[in-house]
Symmetry: C2
Amino acid sequence: MADFAAWSRGIQARMESVLARVLPEAAIAPEKLHAAMRYATLGGGKRIRPMLAFAAGEAVGVDAARVEYAACAVELIHVYSLTHDDLPCMDDDDLRRGKPTCHVQFDEATALLVGDALQSLAFELLASPEACADTATQVAMLALLAKASGSRGMAGGQAVDLAATGKTLELAELEFMHIHKTGALIQAAVLLGGMSGGALAAEARTGLERFAHCVGLAFQVMDDVLDAETDTATLGKTAGKDAAQGKATYLTLMNAKEARIYARELIDDALAAVSIFGPAGQRLSDIARFIIERRY
Amino acid sequence: MADFAAWSRGIQARMESVLARVLPEAAIAPEKLHAAMRYATLGGGKRIRPMLAFAAGEAVGVDAARVEYAACAVELIHVYSLTHDDLPCMDDDDLRRGKPTCHVQFDEATALLVGDALQSLAFELLASPEACADTATQVAMLALLAKASGSRGMAGGQAVDLAATGKTLELAELEFMHIHKTGALIQAAVLLGGMSGGALAAEARTGLERFAHCVGLAFQVMDDVLDAETDTATLGKTAGKDAAQGKATYLTLMNAKEARIYARELIDDALAAVSIFGPAGQRLSDIARFIIERRY
């Protein structure tokens, strides 16, 4: 995993540089909005979704320079959702990536517009001429990202999450929520990375979909475990908040040891799914292993 | 204009039916979010942007069934922006289209997600296979809508508007704000309607752009005049609010009579721009005249 650690730091540095380039400069009007968009996006983040996009591109043999567009698009959707999530009317959180949240640093109206504009920018980047090798696939990529972000994807998952606060969910209900809230965008990251090179062969698409489904759930299981077991300073966001807010998590359904075993099973399934790519699927496998071994 | 009145009612009815079909049913999970998306979108609205899209399609000879996608996309972006605009951290408005605003009828978190999900749905619809005759133009349409919606378009205009509250703007600053806040999406409506049939010829594109620029500004001038002169019941939204909130409007720079003259000049310019389309441009001309003659 030493090699993976270097690779992931490389992706993080690359994303920092690419995002700094694609986000409008803070000197361009409206200055405050652009400064806030940069504040919310730059200087942190695990960049898991971009890693997945680059790794999926590698699995099917796409040039990394092309995958950058899909990687930025999914990351911007992710950052927009965090920015809106942190607002007082949602999770009301003050700390994100070790810094004051966007509405604390700026103001609520600005944070609202930051999220709105980051969503638009994600689609703008994915609609760049360089984002895909052929335009028919590119239109399908745009449709996929839109669906994954919307009411039957990420935004819908947020709505289910809000409705579930204070309630006890069964495992099937909890997974329905996560498949939407985080799974849809993780799946988009993987598929868009692969599609950047053009239409995917049926077998490759099926493999990537199964991988993404398992990795998405495992990521959420481990998020719940880490939220309960880790301190705020290490997480860079407020720890223990899910339990305090009465949110449904995996740890309301199983203990931490069981949750880790469940995540392990999901990761084994993910590893099996990408075996079809042979050595080209190595980065995808590395990410799957990282998700179960991460500490924050 | 009797014919135009019937045509515009026809577009309104058509949009009500198409939007009711493309919005997820309220019975589909997450039910509350879907109910709120339908509440915010259906049952009202002048549908000016869809009218512009259909009229531009007619000017360049595109089948109306194809233009429906672009028309829905721009209207959904418009509705999302109204829903977020009405939130307490923005304009804090209780009344829209004669009904309680979305966050009053539901709650703030839901209204936030409604706006987010409507933006995604707009891009999803515009990425439908039927939305354009060729995929290269369709990618350009998606890029155009994204740019018009984002920080250098509509969302950026909102940010300028927020920053300008309580300040006196010069005409050039006011127009910069409006060109972004409402002009960008009006221009997108016109261009996307035309592009639905495939790439536009240079002359047609220039004509539509000039038309859209003039009509967008004239629309805003008349909005300011009507906001100052009309009662809340007729407008269907809170009247006189701009002045009460210290917002910069055309009426802080000129009196109502001068504003009407200015709008008239803009409309004359718009009419000249679409003369290149001959009789096919009739609906665009009708809309331009409607904008200056409307009472609400």
